[in-house]
């Protein structure tokens, strides 16, 4: 019998099955990512985005409430371009169903349509042959066939079949895929999610092999510094209290627990309350100066499974200490880097907050939002320094309303470097400073070099694993057995290379000073006008990153 309606709990279970299915193929999706250096991580990004959404979602039969919390979590947890697009899809889906209690065939159809449209809107220049095309054609080709009596499972089967057809076509739509002999990774990942959802409806849910939420690259909160609170401290902020309450059966416990009533009473003792009930368990977050009353109130209904209490004054004082340097600054700069060398370099160049994006883990919108919150300045500038992170930064900027955030779409360290170099930190004219940083990032040509991690072909260019490859503006342009030759050839391909006068060179980890001297000599010979500033930045992945202007 066809399934005509699903509620929030069912959709949650479907999505968990979808996530598990995606996780099982995560590595496969990563490998589809057409880029011969190991920053192909579409699968990982999509998994983490969906996992974050599910972690944030409130379990409820109400489809709108579930979707609202799911998509909010996905928007915040979005990683990489694929994660941002996926989160926007579910955000659109959620918007469409904001008044629906259940999903029927009509809701599913309009949700899938609104979802892909929202995803298109999120991308400045939508590219066909990607997840966007897959999501769009999947529903557009079947929308006319969906009727009020169509089963949810039938619609999903048709949807998946159409999407697979489009996915098979992606190499024809996007030459870069054809050259690499792969289909689009984001599209493939998207289909895996829906396949997992359908399997659940077929009674064969995919079980997750790993915990739903993985440790992220974000630093784990360190032990509080107890010296920040002593007998003379002011206690103004109270305690941050988190607990999981098990509602108990039995005569000694009040059997008439009502969530709203409980929240109303908590409000007498504290604020910032977040309270979620799942059957006979209640998860609570509250800020209070008098936790005793809350414990007393809660024990009327049950017992604590967990209970965590932190003195927020310590956090407050720590925060004050950390932000002292950036206090009173009208503008703060957030830069994304990889590796300690780059982190200290950008900090020394004047970035107020440096986020370590890691070698393969893209910074999520949430990590950006957390950074924005930490900075006291009302005006924030973000330097993503990678084209994979620009979208997530922009998403975070859109989500974060408390301060004005400008994303300068720096696609490389070199662009970020010149943006900071052009900043005028002592100017009180914030818009002028932003203008200066935009000027800095403009017209910088980035050339980078590394060793190929696998065989690859792009247009006319082929490389084998282990060969030295050089990129111009992110595109593979030179392959050589000699790193220096590959790099110099790429430099010579810059428009008007012989007239270029200045540039910066970031030396990666594992590259020696002798190699630096050799490069300087080779550049001096081929491009005598070009003066290079060498910086031992220690980045991973790329042995060399050059910015020429």
């Amino acid at each position: 019998m066809a399934i005509r309606r699903i509620n929030g709990i069912e959709l949650e279970r479907m999505l968990r099955s979808g996530l598990a299915n995606l996780q099982q193929h995560e590595e496969e999706i990563n490998r589809l990512n057409v880029f011969p250096v190991p920053d192909g991580d579409t699968g990982t990004n999509m998994c983490m985005t969906l996992a974050h959404g599910l972690q944030n979602a409130v379990s409820t039969t109400q489809i709108n409430d579930f979707l609202k919390t799911l998509s909010a979590g996905m928007l915040l947890g979005a990683r990489g371009n694929s994660g941002v697009i996926l989160s926007q899809f579910f955000y659109g889906f959620s918007q469409e169903l904001s008044r629906s209690v259940l999903i029927g065939p009509g809701e599913l159809r309009s949700g899938l349509i609104r979802g892909y449209r929202m995803a298109y809107d999120a991308v400045l220049q939508p590219v066909e042959g990607t997840m966007l095309s897959v999501a769009r054609e999947g529903i557009e080709h079947i929308r006319a066939q969906i009727t009020r009596s169509s089963g949810i499972d039938v619609i999903l089967s048709m949807y998946i079949a159409e999407m697979r057809r489009t996915l098979a076509q992606t190499p024809e739509m996007l030459p870069v895929l054809k050259d690499a002999g792969v289909v689009d990774s984001g599209g493939a990942g998207f289909i895996l999610i829906f396949e997992g959802m359908l399997k659940y409806l077929h009674g064969e849910p995919v079980e997750s092999a790993e915990p739903a939420v993985r440790e992220t690259a974000a630093p784990s909160p360190s032990e509080p510094d107890l010296s920040l609170f002593d007998e003379n401290s002011t206690f103004a902020d109270g305690y941050c209290v988190d607990y999981l309450l098990q509602l108990m059966n039995g005569g000694s416990y009040d059997q008439h627990f009502r969530l709203q009533n409980y929240i109303d009473r908590l409000q007498k003792y504290g604020n910032s309350i977040v309270c979620v009930q799942n059957d006979k368990r209640v998860k609570v977050h509250v800020h209070t100066k008098t936790p005793a009353y809350i414990i007393q109130l809660s024990q009327k209904y049950g017992e604590f499974l967990t209970f965590k209490l932190e003195n927020m004054q310590i956090q407050h004082n720590e925060h004050d200490r950390e932000t002292q340097q950036v206090k009173n600054k009208p503008l703060s700069v957030v830069a994304v880097v990889n590796g300690n060398g780059m982190a200290s370099l950008f900090a020394s160049l004047g970035a107020d907050k440096v986020i370590d994006g890691g070698a393969t883990m893209n910074t999520s919108a949430q990590e950006f939002v957390a950074a924005f919150e930490q900075l006291p300045a009302d005006e924030i500038v973000v330097l993503p320094n990678s084209k994979n992170i620009i979208l997530a930064a922009e998403q975070a900027a859109g989500l974060f309303k408390a301060k004005h955030v400008t994303v300068i779409p720096t696609a490389s360290y070199a662009e970020g470097y010149f943006a900071l170099a052009m900043d005028m930190p002592d100017s009180s004219d914030v818009s002028r400073r932003i203008q200066q940083m935009l000027r800095g990032a403009k017209d910088v040509v980035t050339v980078s070099e590394t060793t190929a991690s696998r065989d690859w072909s792009y247009h006319e260019i082929r490389c084998r694993k282990g060969e030295e490859i050089a990129f111009l503006g992110g595109e593979l342009v030179c392959v050589n057995s000699d790193w220096k030759a590959a790099l110099i050839d790429a430099l010579l391909m810059i428009d008007g290379a012989e007239d270029k006068e200045t540039g910066v060179v970031f030396r990666g980890s594992g590259v020696s000073e002798e190699q630096e001297a050799a490069l300087a000599e080779a550049v001096a010979e081929k491009l005598p006008l070009l003066e290079l500033e060498f910086i031992d930045a220690g980045q991973e992945i790329y042995h060399w990153v050059l910015g020429v202007m």
Binding site: M422, P425, Q435, T502
Partner: protein
Amino acid sequence: MKKFAILCDATCDLNEQFRTQYDIHVVPGHITLPDKTDLPSPMKWDRYSREEFYANLKKDPNGFKTAPPNTQEFANAMETLTADGTELLAMTISSGISGAFQFASTAAKQVMQAHPEARIRVVDSLRFGPGFGLMAVHAARLRDQGLSLDEVTEYLEANKNRFHQAGWLDDLSFVAKKGRLTNAKAFFGTLAGIKPIGEFDYNGLTTVIGKVKGAKAAYAVLMEYIAQTIEDPEDQTIFIAQTSRLAQAEVYKQMIEERFHPKEIFINDVFPACGINIGPGLMAAYYLGKPISEDLSQERAIIEKQLSKEE
């Protein structure tokens, strides 16, 4: 009436030819080399060539140190020059970046106490290097026109804020380290082709009023800046200072000549007394122009307008 004498410290960067031509005396300060040798601030390249000196400085910026003439040295020079009853104008490097003005003022007081008939006026140039030197040249010319010590002193006090610096300092690591730049911590060292445009502020410190990408764009912005701030260029002597940027200074000189037709234009060296604190990256023109605004807002606006125009 006998003309008054002019005494500067070594940071005026006037070479022997100018000193003779304009009859300007110099009391040298001190420099210390990395091997701890203590020398009177040289005003010619004898011990080192320009290139050698700045290359060594770049290698060991902290090894080189400077000190202005002390009170006694100023006093000795003042006594000698005023012994025959000659009046004296003493000019010093900006009090914003050196103690020389304090020392010279104290010395003048001491000398006038010991010799009540002596007349010494001390002027804080609020400038350094060839900017200071150009001001001394103006003072000497006014003296030659017959103006008295007091008249020249008054002219300098009223007009020193019209001595402009239009140029770049593309290695800020020195100025930042030595505290000779406003808000020095806000700037980082070498900038791979970015040219910070420096002008004197009201307190005699160099302030970055704009940053421009690449030398070509910087020249264009500077030419416009000069055009909007200079007065009567065809009657002027313009100095171009360069620490270790001779090639760029030559280009700049030619551009200024072609556009502004100044009466005279010279490329001047920056000798170690200033050079040690500025580093190799200075390339700037000095000229007389409109008064500089107190917060440099008008000057910043000129640069910003020019940059927006080019976009």
